[in-house]
C-alpha cells in the first residue's frame, strides 16, 4: 500500500440504473472531505439503456480535467470494461458486478479484478438499485475510507424518502465495504493522502453560470430546453422565483432570445441559455440586439455539431458562429470561461458588459465544463459590479422640455445613455432598421456611416481589457499553448508535464474571443518559438481566428484539434503538441 495524491475512479453501466447519482454522491462526499474533485459523465441521447459512465478524479491538488487513466473502475456490465479498457493501467482495479455477467479483462492485462455480486447483495437488502451503494461501499474499502464517510451525503440525498430508505442505503454501503474488505489483497488498496479539509463547493458550469446570472441580478430567463444547456434553465426555474424573477419556457429559441431582448430593452437584466442548434436559430435576433443596442446575455453551452450532431458529446465548435454569425456587420462580446468558477464569474460579468456597452454578450460554455463538476473555492464576489451602464435620468429628460430624446446620441465613446419605458420624456423608437440618433429610420449615407462607426467602435476599449486573456507559466517560454473553454483544464496540466519533461511552456487562456484583443495576444505570445492552439473541434476555429487577428504569428502557429466528442486529457495534449513541436 502506497500513499497516493490522487485517484481516478469510474463507474459504468446502463443509463437509468443510477450511475449518475452514484457519481454525484461520491463526488459530493469527497468534496466535503476537502478533496479537489473533477467529475465527468459520458452518456447518450437516450433516457434508459445505453452505456453511461461517470469518471471522477479525486485529488489533494486542484484538478480541472480527468486523468488519462482510471485507477478504480466499478463495472456493471462488460460494455463498460470494453469501452474503458484503454484507460486501465497495470495497477488498476476493476470491481465488477458478478451477478449478471462474467467480467473479461483485456487479454494479457495485469489489471486486478474483484468480482462482487453487487446486485444480488442489493437485492438481499430489498432493492436492486442499491447496487450502486454497495459499489460505493466497495470503493470505500478500496480507497481506505470508513463506510460512515458517506452517511451525510446519503442522508441528504435520500432523507426526503424516509428513514427506512436511508437506512437501507447505509446498510448497502456497509455491506459493500465488508465484502470487499474481506477480499482485498495488500496491493489492492489505494491509500489516498488526507485532504486539506478546506471547505469547497461542488458544482457544474451550467449551475455556476445560472448562479452567476442570479447573483448579477438577472431577473428574466427565457429559454427552450436543449442538451446540454437545460440545466441552466432548470436551476433558474427553481431559484429565480425566490428573488421575484421569472423563467419563461418559450415555444422556440427565437422567441427565447426576443423575449429576453424585450426585457433588456425595458431595463431588466435578462438572458437565454441554449446550445448550438438554438444558437443558430438565434442569429437574426442576435443582430437585432446589436442593431438596437439592447443589452442581453446568451449562455451557449456547446455540444458536438454540426446540426443535431452528438447532443451529449462535448465540442468547442460554435466559436465561428458566435464570433461571425448573423448577417451584416455587428459588434458582440464573446466570453469563454474555462473552469467552472469562471463560468460563474464570466456569466456575472456578462451582464455588466451587456449593460455597459449595450450589446449582446455570449457566454460560451462547452458540454465538458457545462455538465462536468469541479470543486470551487469560496467565490470572490468582487466580480459583482452591477454596472448598469449609462442611463439618462428623469431630470435630464425633463430638461429636454419636450424635445426629442436622443437615444442613440453620438458620443466620443459610442455609448449613448439610454432611457427605459416608464421614464417621462424618454420615448424613442428602437428599431433594427438603420436609424439616426433619435432612433428614427433614416437611410442617409452620412448618418449611416456615423452610426455604423458608433456601433462598430464602441467595444474598442475592450482591446485593453485585463480579463481578455490569462497567462500561466514562465515569461520566457519556448512553447505557448493556447486554449479556451474547458480545454484549459487539460492544457494547464499538460504545461506542467511538459515543463517537468524539460520544455519551457506557458499557457495563454482566451477568456474573451470577441472582440479579440490582438495586440495583447501578440505580446503574450511574443518570444515563443511555437504557439500551439489546442481546441475541441475539427475546423481549428480558434486557430483560424488567431490567424485572422494576428497574422504575423501564422508561421509560429500550430493547431491541435480533437473532435471525437470527448474532452482532451493532459496526456493527449502533450502527445499531440509534441507532434507539432
Amino acid at each position: 500500500m502506497i500513499m497516493i495524491q490522487e485517484l481516478s475512479w469510474a463507474v459504468g453501466g446502463q443509463q437509468g440504473e443510477g450511475i449518475e447519482s452514484t457519481g454525484e454522491i461520491l463526488a459530493a462526499t469527497l468534496s466535503r472531505l476537502g478533496y479537489h474533485i473533477y467529475g465527468y459523465r459520458t452518456f447518450s441521447s437516450r433516457i434508459k439503456g445505453g452505456q453511461t459512465n461517470y469518471r471522477i478524479r479525486i485529488s489533494t491538488k486542484r484538478v480541472l480535467a480527468n486523468q488519462d487513466y482510471i485507477d478504480v473502475l466499478v463495472a456493471f456490465d462488460q460494455e463498460t470494461i470494453r469501452l474503458l479498457a484503454n484507460r486501465l493501467h497495470p495497477g488498476s482495479l476493476v470491481i465488477a458486478d458478478s451477478t449478471d455477467f462474467r467480467a473479461e479483462l483485456p487479454a494479457g492485462s495485469s489489471v486486478r479484478l474483484l468480482e462482487i455480486p453487487l446486485t444480488s447483495m442489493a437485492e438481499s437488502l430489498g432493492n436492486a438499485v442499491m447496487k450502486n451503494m454497495v459499489a460505493m461501499g466497495a470503493t470505500a474499502a478500496v480507497v481506505g475510507f470508513a463506510p460512515e464517510t458517506f452517511t451525510d451525503a446519503l442522508r441528504r440525498r435520500f432523507g426526503s424518502k424516509g428513514e427506512t430508505v436511508v437506512n437501507q442505503n447505509l446498510a448497502a454501503v456497509q455491506k459493500g465495504f465488508e465484502a470487499v474488505a474481506a477480499q482485498l489483497g495488500s496491493g489492492d488498496t489505494f491509500h489516498l493522502a488526507k485532504a486539506d479539509g478546506r471547505h469547497r463547493y461542488l458544482m457544474s458550469g451550467d449551475e455556476a453560470a445560472a448562479f452567476g446570472a442570479l447573483a448579477a441580478g438577472c431577473r428574466i430567463e427565457a429559454a427552450y430546453p436543449i442538451t446540454p444547456a437545460s440545466e441552466v434553465m432548470h436551476w433558474l426555474a427553481e431559484m429565480l422565483p425566490k428573488y421575484g424573477g421569472v423563467v419563461v419556457q418559450t415555444e422556440d429559441e427565437i422567441a427565447a432570445l426576443m423575449t429576453a431582448v424585450g426585457a433588456g430593452y425595458t431595463g431588466v437584466r435578462a438572458m437565454t441559455s441554449t446550445s448550438g442548434p438554438g444558437l443558430s436559430l438565434m442569429m437574426e435576433a442576435l443582430g437585432y440586439a446589436g442593431a438596437t443596442e439592447t443589452p442581453v446575455v446568451i449562455v451557449n453551452v456547446q455540444r458536438a455539431g454540426p446540426s443535431t450532431g452528438m447532443p451529449t458529446k462535448t465540442e468547442q465548435s460554435d466559436l465561428n458562429e458566435m464570433v461571425y454569425g448573423s448577417h451584416g456587420d455587428l459588434a458582440r462580446i464573446v466570453l469563454t470561461p474555462g473552469t467552472v468558477e469562471e463560468c460563474f464569474y464570466d456569466t456575472a460579468r456578462a451582464f455588466d458588459l451587456a449593460e455597459h456597452y449595450q450589446v449582446p454578450v455570449i457566454v460560451a460554455l462547452d458540454l465538458a465544463n457545462g455538465l462536468g463538476v469541479q470543486t470551487v473555492e469560496a467565490l470572490d464576489y468582487s466580480c459583482l459590479k452591477y454596472d448598469r451602464g449609462e442611463r439618462v435620468t428623469n431630470e435630464e429628460l425633463a430638461a429636454l422640455e419636450g424635445s426629442q430624446f436622443l437615444r442613440y446620441k453620438f458620443t466620443p465613446s459610442g455609448i449613448s445613455p439610454r432611457a427605459i419605458p416608464g421614464q417621462p420624456g424618454g420615448m424613442f423608437l428602437a428599431t433594427g432598421n438603420e436609424h439616426d440618433q433619435t432612433g428614427h429610420i433614416v437611410e442617409r449615407v452620412d448618418n449611416r456611416v456615423q452610426i455604423m462607426n458608433k456601433r462598430m467602435h464602441k467595444l474598442d476599449p475592450l482591446v485593453n481589457d485585463s480579463l481578455a486573456f490569462v497567462r500561466h507559466g514562465l515569461q520566457d517560454a519556448d512553447v505557448v499553448l493556447v486554449a479556451f473553454g474547458s480545454t484549459i483544464g487539460p492544457v494547464l496540466e499538460a504545461r506542467e508535464r511538459l515543463e517537468a519533461a524539460g520544455t519551457k511552456a506557458a499557457v495563454v487562456q482566451v477568456r474573451m474571443a470577441a472582440p479579440f484583443a490582438a495586440s495583447q495576444f501578440s505580446d503574450l505570445t511574443a518570444g515563443a518559438r511555437k504557439v500551439i492552439v489546442v481546441e475541441n473541434n475539427a475546423g481549428g476555429q480558434l486557430y483560424g481566428l488567431i490567424r485572422r487577428e494576428v497574422p504575423a504569428l501564422a508561421e509560429r502557429l500550430a493547431s491541435v484539434r480533437k473532435y471525437d466528442g470527448t474532452p482532451f486529457t493532459a496526456g493527449e495534449v502533450v502527445a499531440k503538441c509534441q507532434e507539432v513541436f
Binding site: A216, A270, Q423, N433
Partner: protein
C-alpha cells in the same frame, strides 16, 4: 406633480403609407383609444413588426420598439414581464402576425400575458410589394401566385378562439369609432387581447377593397345581438359570416399569466433591487453546492 393633461399620442413624423391606406385609420383609432383611456405616453410601449403596418410605431407617441419580422409577440411578452405597470400594445401585419409569426401568436394566446395585439390585416404583403399573404383568399393572383392562391386562408379569429383566447375582436378601417372602442376594450382587458383589423391595401390588393368590405361586413350584433361571453356563439358567428364580421366577438374575464407566476412581485421587475448583500450568495453556495 403637475396635473397631467390628456395627450394625443401624435408625432411629427409624416406617415410613409400610401394615400388611402387603411393603416391611417388604425393609427387614428389607437391614438384616440390611448387618449381616451388617459394613458401616459411614457407608460405605453408599442411593439411593431416589419411591414407597412409595422411603420405605425413611428407615428405613435409612446415608447416604441420596431422588432423583427414576425417577432412582436415574444418582445411584447418580455416587456410586460419586465414591467407589469406598462401598457403593452403589439401591432403586426397579416404576414408578420399570421405568416412568419403565427407560432408566437398562438403561444402568446395560451400564455395569456396581459397585452393587446392589433393586426392590420390587408390580405397581402404590402411592404414587399404585393405577394399573397396567409389571409389572402383562394384564387387571388399576385406576383407569387400568378395562377391564383391555392392555400386555404388562415382564419385569425377562429384560430385565436381555438387557441383559447380570452379576448377576440375585429374592426375595419372605415369604422374608426368602433375600432377605437374595440381597442379601448382590448387594452382594458386583463390578459391577451386580439383586435384583427381589416385594413385595406389600396395599392396591391384590388380584391379586398374598402368597397368589398363595406358590401360584405356585418356587425356581430346584427340580427339579434351577441353575447361576447359565449365562445360557441362567437365561433358560430365567425363561421356563418366567413369571418366577415366586426365587433367584440369574445371576452372572458379571469386571471392572466402574471397572476400565476410564483413569487412574481407586485412591483415591476425593473424596480427590483439586484445588488443584494453577498451573504445571500454565500447562503446559496452553502445550501446548493456545499
Amino acid at each position: 406633480m403637475a396635473v397631467q393633461t390628456k395627450v394625443s399620442f401624435k408625432t411629427d413624423a409624416k406617415p410613409w403609407w400610401c394615400p388611402g391606406c387603411g393603416d391611417f385609420a388604425v393609427l387614428a383609432a389607437l391614438q384616440r383609444a390611448a387618449t381616451q383611456l388617459g394613458l401616459r405616453p411614457e407608460n405605453v410601449v408599442l411593439v411593431a413588426g416589419i411591414g407597412c403596418s409595422g411603420k405605425i410605431g413611428d407615428y405613435f407617441g409612446s415608447y416604441n420598439i420596431h422588432v423583427l419580422h414576425g417577432r412582436t409577440m415574444p418582445v411584447a411578452q418580455g416587456i410586460k414581464l419586465a414591467n407589469r405597470n406598462l401598457t403593452v400594445i403589439a401591432a403586426s401585419g397579416d404576414g408578420d402576425g399570421y405568416g412568419i409569426g403565427l407560432n408566437h401568436f398562438i403561444h402568446a394566446v395560451r400564455r395569456n400575458i396581459d397585452l393587446t395585439y392589433i393586426v392590420m390585416d390587408n390580405h397581402i404583403y404590402g411592404l414587399t410589394k404585393g405577394q399573397y399573404s396567409p389571409t389572402s383568399e383562394k384564387k387571388f393572383r399576385t406576383v407569387t401566385s400568378p395562377a391564383g392562391v391555392y392555400e386555404q386562408p388562415i382564419q385569425p379569429l377562429v384560430l385565436a378562439l381555438a387557441a383559447g383566447a380570452t379576448f377576440v375582436a375585429q374592426g375595419f378601417s372605415s369604422n374608426v369609432n368602433q375600432l377605437t372602442d374595440l381597442i379601448m376594450k382590448a387594452i382594458r382587458h386583463k390578459g391577451f387581447s386580439l383586435v384583427n383589423v381589416l385594413s385595406p391595401c389600396v395599392t396591391f390588393n384590388k380584391v379586398n377593397t374598402y368597397d368589398f368590405f363595406r358590401a360584405n361586413l356585418v356587425d356581430v350584433a346584427d340580427g339579434g345581438g351577441h353575447d361576447p361571453h359565449d365562445r360557441t356563439a362567437a365561433m358560430r358567428r365567425i363561421t356563418e359570416t366567413g369571418g366577415l364580421v366586426t365587433g367584440l366577438l369574445y371576452e372572458e374575464e379571469g386571471p392572466s399569466f402574471q397572476d400565476y407566476i410564483p413569487g412574481y412581485p407586485e412591483t415591476p421587475l425593473t424596480e427590483a433591487k439586484i445588488d443584494l448583500p453577498t451573504s445571500e450568495w454565500d447562503k446559496i453556495l452553502k445550501e446548493h453546492f456545499g
